[in-house]
Amino acid sequence: MNRVLSFFGAPVVLFARTVRAGAREGVSWRECAVQLHELGGRSVWLVVSGMAFFGAVLVTIANSQARRFVGNVAVLGPAYFELLIRELGPVVSALLTASRAGAGHAAELSTMSVNEQVEALEMSAGDPYADLVAPRMVAGLLGVPLLSTLGTVAATLSAALVASLVFGVDGRAFMDPRYVDGWDLLAAGMKAVACGLYIPLAAAVAGLRARGGAEAVGQATTEGVVAASLGCLLIDFGVSLAFQLLRL
């Protein structure tokens, strides 16, 4: 119970502190740009190639399903496109970003904590929340939606390509926006933004708490990446459920 509480509570507390510290101290936009560059540069290949493979897998699955269900996989195309845009694109991209950025941030911040650099920063008139957490949060907030978009595009293209080349159906069915409406885009956007906010927070919670030596760094990195990944799944679940209950 305690663990559940701290799993949800700690990021919220950190978020509040970061926003307050950021408002008080000001956030360096330069540092935000550096973090955004880091996030994008490090994660973009993982997200794009991972999503491309994922798109291909999705078509293969759809094909096996279609053979029992409707006959021609192309019929499922538009529905799968909606699924990809609304659910799978943002979530799987966010999961990939979580593993890259979540682990990276947790490792960086825990190394800094263990080497007393966080305290040295405080003694240098810096604020760990405004100087370390806020730029990563801003970068996540902007970067994850961008990465999700790129990932969704990669998955769509590879799905269409595999459908055309391997299964010999018109691949354009997998990018037919017949069923996609504004609510789908809204759901996708909400998921990406929420994950983008949550990943750096979860990583920072684990990273800034680290005390000890090399062992503590390893533990904090593990904790950070697990929390970030699980958080993305929970966010997806929450948003999907909310939209389902509202029947949008």
């Binding site: 993982l46 994922f54 699955i61 682990a103 190394t111 062992e215 390893g218 997806d236 389902q244």
Partner: protein, 268 residues
């Protein structure tokens, strides 16, 4: 800086990046093969106590996380399949479609990603801590094989844990699916499990187990080889844990693709 040299340097950077990526890939594959081979050689002299410890740590301690992942995967798949099942007015097929989705793709994939984060990062961090602290050198120094003592038990434990967890995860996920279908789409449990049992064969379960097992092997080999090649201080431990997760995820997506193609072709 004026634009042209920047473009040139960007091009150069890309080439250099691609080159180092290629080199890295070759080195990584070599390290993987080495770890795999030495693990197999170390199997007969496997340290039992370490195996039990690793089983508890990787398997038993991961159960809550696996449970949460399974529950989430189940509900998410229902919410997703519900979306297009309703479009085609084929609600009765939900049991089959959702079961298929969990067994073939989302169960193994999500479990693999989460376990890559938990087990992979932790394993790499532990081995990197030992490597950085000189403990692995120490083992060699007193004539013990680190692969038999540290690596083989971990690889075996991770594989066993993943296989056990896969079946467990699928069961939990399907349970949650049926409940979610009842609550969100109003589909009676009888109908859900009716089509589920009718249209899915034991082979479908096998597909998921094979995938999860392959992911487990990939995670364990990648994370041990990353952990063992760590050099430096606390920073190196963090880097090792982070790159174990990333390489594990990349491996999972590639393996997922290859296995889906192979299994789908074989089942057809």
């Amino acid at each position: 800086m004026s634009p042209p040299p920047r473009v040139a340097s960007l091009g150069l950077k890309t080439v250099r990046g691609a080159g180092s990526l290629g080199l890295e890939a070759v080195r990584g594959t070599g390290a993987l093969a080495l770890v795999a081979a030495r693990t197999v050689l170390g199997l007969p002299r496997l340290e039992r106590r370490e195996l039990v410890r690793a089983l508890v740590q990787f398997g038993y301690d991961s159960l809550p996380l696996a449970l949460a992942t399974a529950a989430l995967a189940g509900v998410i798949v229902v919410l997703q399949s519900g979306l297009y099942i309703q479009r085609f007015g084929a609600r009765a097929f939900l049991g089959w479609a959702a079961g298929y989705g969990v067994l073939w793709e989302f169960g193994p994939l999500l479990l693999g990603l989460i376990m890559s984060a938990r087990i992979g990062a932790r394993n790499a961090a532990e081995l990197a801590t030992m490597q950085v602290g000189g403990q692995i050198e120490g083992l060699r120094g007193i004539g013990l094989d680190p692969f038999a003592i540290l690596v083989a038990p971990r690889v075996v434990a991770m594989e066993l844990s993943m296989l056990a967890m896969s079946t467990f995860t699928f069961l939990v996920a399907i349970l949650f699916e049926s409940v979610a279908a009842l609550f969100t789409l109003g589909l009676p449990l009888r109908i859900f499990f009716g089509t589920f049992a009718q249209m899915l064969s034991p082979l479908d379960i096998l597909g998921g187990v094979v995938k999860t097992g392959a992911f487990g092997l990939a995670i364990s080999l990648v994370s041990t080889s990353v952990g063992l090649s760590a050099r430096g201080g606390a920073q190196a431990v963090g880097r090792a844990a982070a790159s174990a997760v990333v390489q594990g995820c990349a491996a999972i997506f590639v393996i997922d693709f290859l296995l889906t193609l192979a299994l789908a072709g074989w089942m057809a």
